[in-house]
Subunit: 462 residues, 2 copies
Amino acid sequence: MDIAAAKAALMHLDLDDNPAAVRAKSRDFFWYSPVLKDRLDHLSADFVVMPKTQDEVIEVLAACHAHDVPVTVRGSGTGNYGQAMPLAGGCVLHMQNMDKVLEISPGRVVTQPGTIIRELDRITRDQSGQELRMFPSTAGTATIGGFICGGSGGVGSVRWGMLRDYGNILRIRVATMEARPRILDFTGRDLARVSHAYGTNGVVTEIEMPLAPAYDWVHVFLTLDDFTHAAALTHALALQDGILLKLATVCEAPVAARYFQRFRGHVSDTDSVIALMVAPHSMDGFLSFLSHEPGARLIYRSDAHDWARDPGPAYEYGWNHTTLRALKVDPSITYLQVRYAGPDLLDKVGAIRARFGDELIQHLEFLRETGVMTAAGLTLVRFSTEARLDEIIRIHEDMGCMVFNPHRYTLEEGGRQTVDARQLDFKRQADPKGLLNPGKMIAWDVPDWDYSRAYDYARMRH
Amino acid sequence: MDIAAAKAALMHLDLDDNPAAVRAKSRDFFWYSPVLKDRLDHLSADFVVMPKTQDEVIEVLAACHAHDVPVTVRGSGTGNYGQAMPLAGGCVLHMQNMDKVLEISPGRVVTQPGTIIRELDRITRDQSGQELRMFPSTAGTATIGGFICGGSGGVGSVRWGMLRDYGNILRIRVATMEARPRILDFTGRDLARVSHAYGTNGVVTEIEMPLAPAYDWVHVFLTLDDFTHAAALTHALALQDGILLKLATVCEAPVAARYFQRFRGHVSDTDSVIALMVAPHSMDGFLSFLSHEPGARLIYRSDAHDWARDPGPAYEYGWNHTTLRALKVDPSITYLQVRYAGPDLLDKVGAIRARFGDELIQHLEFLRETGVMTAAGLTLVRFSTEARLDEIIRIHEDMGCMVFNPHRYTLEEGGRQTVDARQLDFKRQADPKGLLNPGKMIAWDVPDWDYSRAYDYARMRH
Ligand SMILES: Cc1cc2nc3c(=O)[nH]c(=O)nc-3n(C[C@H](O)[C@H](O)[C@H](O)COP(=O)(O)OP(=O)(O)OC[C@H]3O[C@@H](n4cnc5c(N)ncnc54)[C@H](O)[C@@H]3O)c2cc1C
Ligand SMILES: Cc1cc2nc3c(=O)[nH]c(=O)nc-3n(C[C@H](O)[C@H](O)[C@H](O)COP(=O)(O)OP(=O)(O)OC[C@H]3O[C@@H](n4cnc5c(N)ncnc54)[C@H](O)[C@@H]3O)c2cc1C
């Protein structure tokens, strides 16, 4: 690794090697996890480059390849699995200057990867009355490239499923990490080779995404004094095909009273809260549905409310924003990402609640998984020790609830704990020296890893 | 019933009493059913009025009320349950002159009831890039009012569910049948009082419907040589949340070879056919999905094909258009409307096939029912006798497959065979003399009917 030579070759670009600035741009939301905070807090890259064009990306990749310098791509660094942490130092390739929206047509947008998602949504909306099918709750700060490479789904998944589903990404263009970087377009089945690969096998330089119609979504909050009832109501509502939703979140009491500051005075300690985004023309259908639920209290709708302080969009109380709000108030909180599926999914949630009592607080996001409504649990956990956290995860798995462990920084451990042969195979072609985001793909480093304990990247910088 | 007096009172309107013309406008697609053909073929009203405004509707209703003349509303008369047949004669209120589209906004359209659905779709598309969420396969001829009052769902239901689901109709305005007709607006839960009521408790004068984005749908046909496989493929495809479909139809061999004239040369006797409408930006995802299905052969896509004769839209091979095509070639064919639901729905189809052999040919439409993919079977039946047809229906029911009997002209018998208290209750208020489409609501005539035999309206005109 010849940092000096690589920097020299790239001096004419927008390059920053001020240590404080580099350290700031070397960090993402890994600190969400006390485990990752323990492992990754000291890390920093050596320099940051901010390319403006695909040609500049190619230049950076060629120079770093020549000098054996690791490259970790960065969107906005909002990943909460430590996806963008430069484990082996080297170059952070910061994409935010590549933020041009290139083409909008019915059902489609072509964009550079560094565009902030909310800005992309604003542009497609202004120019065509369309918006993204789904986005992470970090849309206000995250890039579309970071979402494709490090995210999985989010606001909109209740209708459209997850990013990995056929049709939810249309095309990805990547630059490879070779002496002469190649530019390759992926569509269809091949998208799986580079999407959600944490930038370990290519740098995304252009993206084509499907669009849905943009509506002035009504942001709605409901309270109920019984979580089981609240979860069942949210599930039943999410199943209403005629009521167009973009978000269906339910949080157990006392999440709202304790962690949602703007809810003060509107909720009590025993209120479980449902957060929804409802299309304006579905409000009537939604209210009709609600009229069968005397226990539910509508406390807020963004199109008509008397709250002194605007709570902001409902989705900033959903997905990992719920966790963020909890962490801000109580830094001892941590979390899990659980998959509740099957016809008895709500029973599973009930069994988990009975098993753990106060140690966990439930937060569910409803989403479609190949046509079937399931729930993601972004469960809040009262953190004690790492050993206990592992035990909690094991108990979940024993009870039939898969966990996507957010206390691990590798692709495999944060996913289904299996090697993705398509991604590995493409890394062999696109990054023969293994310089792209090193340490994140176990299959590359230790092909026979058995996942019984946490992976510890051997060449992590100290 | 004083026909002469009513006519005299309405002479200044667009009124027709030429017997041949009246008879033509007194008939719908009841003849689809050999049973209904036997019962209803002789019927004719006494005169037809074609109102141009809501005020004219009120005038007709008031005059007919005064003179005890039955009023049967008519859109285009494409109903296949004999919904629009004037059992007791009297006045046919023909709505096709009330065809103005009144207002279009994001997600909504307000229209008069007599607008032809395809024309409504063209206007919303031209003016706003939007289209109806769902329409019957008769969109080219049927009115939106007839769909609301006599239909149930169709093309689009694979995504949006059925018309009766909350959110799929926004508002219905009706005129009542009283000395002084009232104008009432229904929304939310109250929509169920007047939608799918065959015009027995009000005349719809204005409708507000939700809109979805309009796309240049790609019409696709696939063939497979095994129906079980074809049905499973269609089901799995319909479950792909990221692949936007508007139609997912599968027809057992030899439907296509035998009844789809334009398919000649493209299909063999053993080909089962899948008909789809796919959003253009979902074609890539669809083709990726298809690449896992080596047994499926793509024989036609409307955006790139070499068929000498254009087969027209895919949906005109789906829903009851399949039946229509079969009937045109073989008048001895009749049909059923079956509901296949539950996790084992395809097994149920398999069991039915095994039970009946050649006597039935399967045709399935996939659709969502409160969030769960189910199938409607528009099964083709080799007709022998009415008794055998009833037996076939009973066997279906015994095997756990509900039948919406299309050989009955009443609301209850064509539905779930239960009294709809909401519709009955509103008929008491809106049509105290029982003059609107008499004979179609059993609960009004014979409250304690037990459904063990076919209802026979006592006052049917001979
Ligand atoms: C409060 C909170 C809420 C969240 N909610 C969600 C949610 O609802 N759904 C969800 O999926 N995620 C969620 N996340 C995770 C994260 O915010 C999103 O996935 C986000 O889209 C990441 O975008 P980013 O620009 O910040 O990417 P970064 O964090 O910068 O990068 C993410 C990964 O992608 C790689 N990458 C970035 N750009 C490129 C590129 N151009 N080419 C190749 N690789 C690249 C990085 O190397 C990294 O591995 C949440 C996180 C937080 C903190
Ligand atoms: C080949 C074929 C395919 C079909 N496919 C489908 C399908 O996919 N889905 C489906 O749901 N149906 C289907 N149908 C049935 C029918 O075509 C549709 O329901 C259609 O929408 C009816 O519209 P229409 O204008 O022809 O109504 P009509 O047949 O004229 O009327 C239908 C009923 O509504 C009442 N009515 C009509 N207008 C009003 C009004 N303004 N106020 C009060 N009552 C009124 C009539 O009295 C009658 O009872 C099909 C029929 C055929 C023959």
